[in-house]
Symmetry: C2
Subunit: 478 residues, 2 copies
């Protein structure tokens, strides 16, 4: 229930975000440093995300499994870059059952190590490959500065871990998943993400190739929405994941890992929300349609509620996620605000005149005020509503895509890059040297987000002027 006023996005985007998360009851601060509680409304949104992704993973041959939450500390030391990347962030169990442990255990920050250990035990022959396992759960990284959904000590995600016979197959897997992520983001979450590969300095600890999808928030900062990594033989050598190939020769496996986390909820909020609160894409919204009955006396109530219950049953029967808000202790105006804050894509108002005239009033969440309202016949309401939900879904994607395109610029020189990334993204020629990337970061706080796979032409590095074969996106990021 709404319990306070939202600041506008223009006033304070960061605090607008925090208040939307709290007041819409998506999540709350936990009494454990840096952790969050994902409340039922937020979890229902996450379940809609997970069920779509889970289905796509299963359709492409993946299976789910569960590995321990605790990982021996020594496991992290087996892959040099991995331990450097993760050891500063570990939460460590030192005592169990009242006694000090012989070896401390880390609460998993990611599971390459323990899954690698098990793969070494399970994989014997080319016949056992590929292994395509996904784990759904949470991981823990001791973050110093936290923000609900975007960066919390514990967060929820899936982590896919696959082992293959050849580098080619592993790279194909990495890209297959990146395509699933891209398609999911665009067509289910209405997030017009850009896909590409990461620069060397932005790679996952231990990866040979890291690919990502990146989204633009309304404050024009970038948010990494998903990653897919190719490890080559880094982890298979560290954990001895070997198989006998068809010629009976022992070979190391090629492995990948990939993840989307509850961070993507932050992307949905910051891409679509407005000053009234959340706007959820219909395909993911826990409640797609809310019915608000309006009446002043018992006579009106009878007619209105009869209509409301009948239409509720029709919509529900058609598979639409609908809620009838029949609370009597609050006014219709209060309910309008409440469901707008929570981002329900479509509101159906039913007053006594609507009931008498066999119509209802529809109000689109994505178009506030009179512009988004229409009066439609009660007859055949489910197809009307379904069509409008599709239209809202399309419209959210179009709006976000237009915003993205309007805020990516190609700098002619380094000064221009600096002014672009102050309030947008730069798509700039780059020589791929870590030095030029580091200079941009130092001067502007903008990092290289990713590098598109399809490149054409050649240019001059926007920093050093040397020949450049690729253009990359540079932006300040969450």
């Amino acid at each position: 229930m709404a319990n306070g006023k939202l600041p506008t996005r223009a006033e304070d985007f960061s605090e607008w975000y925090n208040q939307v998360v709290l007041q819409a009851e998506l999540a709350d601060y936990a009494p454990v440093r840096g952790c969050m509680v994902v409340r039922p409304y937020g979890w229902a949104l996450w379940e809609n995300i997970t069920s779509i992704l889970d289905k796509r993973f299963k359709e492409t041959g993946h299976v789910n499994a569960a590995f321990p939450t605790l990982i021996p500390l020594s496991f992290f030391e087996k892959e040099k870059e991995h331990v450097e990347g993760f050891s500063p962030q570990l939460a460590v169990v030192t005592h169990g059952g009242g006694e000090q442990l012989e070896e401390p255990l880390a609460v998993r920050p990611t599971s390459e190590t323990i899954i690698g250990y098990m793969y070494a035990k399970w994989i014997k022959s080319w016949r056992d490959l590929p292994v395509l396992i996904v784990q759904w759960g949470s991981v823990m990284r001791w973050e110093l500065r936290t923000k609900l959904f975007l960066r919390t000590a514990e967060f929820y995600w899936h982590e896919g871990h696959t082992a293959h016979a050849t580098a080619e197959e592993a790279k194909e897997e990495m890209l297959r998943i990146l395509d699933i992520y891209t398609d999911f983001s665009i067509n289910e979450a209405a997030l017009p993400v850009l896909k590409g590969y990461k620069s060397e300095s932005e790679r996952f600890a231990g990866a040979q190739i890291t690919t990502s999808i990146e989204g633009m928030m309304q404050d024009k900062r970038a948010l990494q929405c998903g990653t897919s990594h190719y490890f080559g033989q880094n982890f298979s050598r560290a954990f001895d994941i070997k198989f006998l190939d068809r010629n009976n020769t022992l070979q190391y496996c090629e492995t990948t890992s990939w993840a989307i986390s509850t961070r993507i909820i932050g992307a949905i909020i910051m891409t679509h929300g407005d000053d009234q609160g959340l706007i959820l894409p219909p395909r993911l919204a826990p409640i797609q349609v809310v019915i608000v009955p309006i009446f002043k006396n018992d006579a009106e109530k009878g007619r209105v509620m009869e209509t409301a219950h009948r239409l509720f049953a029709e919509l529900k029967g058609a598979g639409i996620r609908v809620k009838l808000d029949d609370r009597e202790e609050v006014t219709p105006g209060y309910k309008f605000n409440d469901w707008e804050l929570r981002g329900v894509p479509l509101r159906i108002e039913i007053g006594p005149n609507d009931a008498d005239r066999n119509v209802v009033t529809l109000a689109r969440r994505d178009r506030p005020g009179r512009e988004g309202k229409s009066s439609v016949p009660q007859a055949a309401l489910p197809p009307t509503v379904s069509g409008l939900l599709d239209e809202i879904q399309r419209s959210l994607l179009e709006r976000a895509t237009a915003f993205l395109n309007a805020n990516i610029h190609q700098p002619g020189d380094y000064e221009e890059l600096k002014s672009i990334v102050a309030d947008g993204w730069a798509f700039a020629w780059w020589c791929e040297s870590p030095e030029c990337e580091a200079k941009i970061k130092e001067d502007t706080k903008a990092t290289s987000r990713n590098i598109p796979f399809d490149q054409s032409g050649e240019g001059r590095c926007v920093v050093c002027g040397r020949p450049a074969k690729v253009r990359a996106y540079f932006a300040r990021a969450y």
Copy 2:
């Protein structure tokens, strides 16, 4: 893949169990003391269990949410019995991000405390009640003697936590859930569990009433398959969970919690399995039907595989979970053993003669050998298979129920009780004193499992001879 021979149940029931779990690839030992890895086949079984329960919880108004994995140690001290019950079992995080924590954090053994803390924050008024939240995840209890699925340091479960305005409503909730658990066990898992309430000494730490469902394994030991607790105001007073009632008076909430864990997979294995391995109830089996093609040469292969693919598509289209085992590096006989070990309820054999005569051979997993085989027409195979899966489901429940009934006895005196619980369950009059219960446990290792709600008549306590109003089940238990 089968990689060793199973001992028979008669030879060594405990080792038979371990080998079934490992060889059927349900789970494996993890490289972390007392923890297990749930492998894809075991996790698929768990997903079928969770999806049915999740649907039933949602139909009865429950919602899911996620609370932190780590809980401040001080939270456990707020409820006296709770801390006594759980503190010896805690895994404790003392370091985070390279520094010692000011307050150690426990990896949750159960979440009453941290959920209670959040409920105190969220619940203000009678309008906020009831709160009906379920969390799916894992918990950690530092067990000394572990066994895959039955008792591991980390295990998977759901934990329901509800808050109500009145004791009556909270008790109704406890029983509503117990009924869901009972119905699920009997009608989905084919486990003929017995429901009742626990004795005082067997209650959950902090509960005023604990109810349970108890199953009988083939070695006649009892396994607790699910519990539902009523806390009264124990936790609401400890965590200050209060609400303003309709008269504007501040009241403490009445709370419940309840759980079914991956232990129930152990119950399924030990109730239904045979010397060939697992037998899964069709309603939960990840693979309900496996098709094994049989041929000797390419000419036969063409006819057989064409039939196999066609029937596979028909069965899949009818919503049956079917697998076509088209491996060529192993023999049909190997495949028979492999899928029997994994407990697939129904096998379809297709040889060249079957293909020519438009029939297939069906082999029931629950009736090994010729008795369970039949030749049926390929025409209308999906309804034939569906009907047979229903029949297998019924048959498994009947067999387990007959076994349960044949092994519960009513002792006339204490000596008889002692001989009964050596190889079965005693259903005995009991005065409800903890002393008599403790004596039984000391003399026989049998504990009181539960006490049925419906009791009739009166008797004399089987231990002390004093008047007794209830009969309870006594058995050695896992």
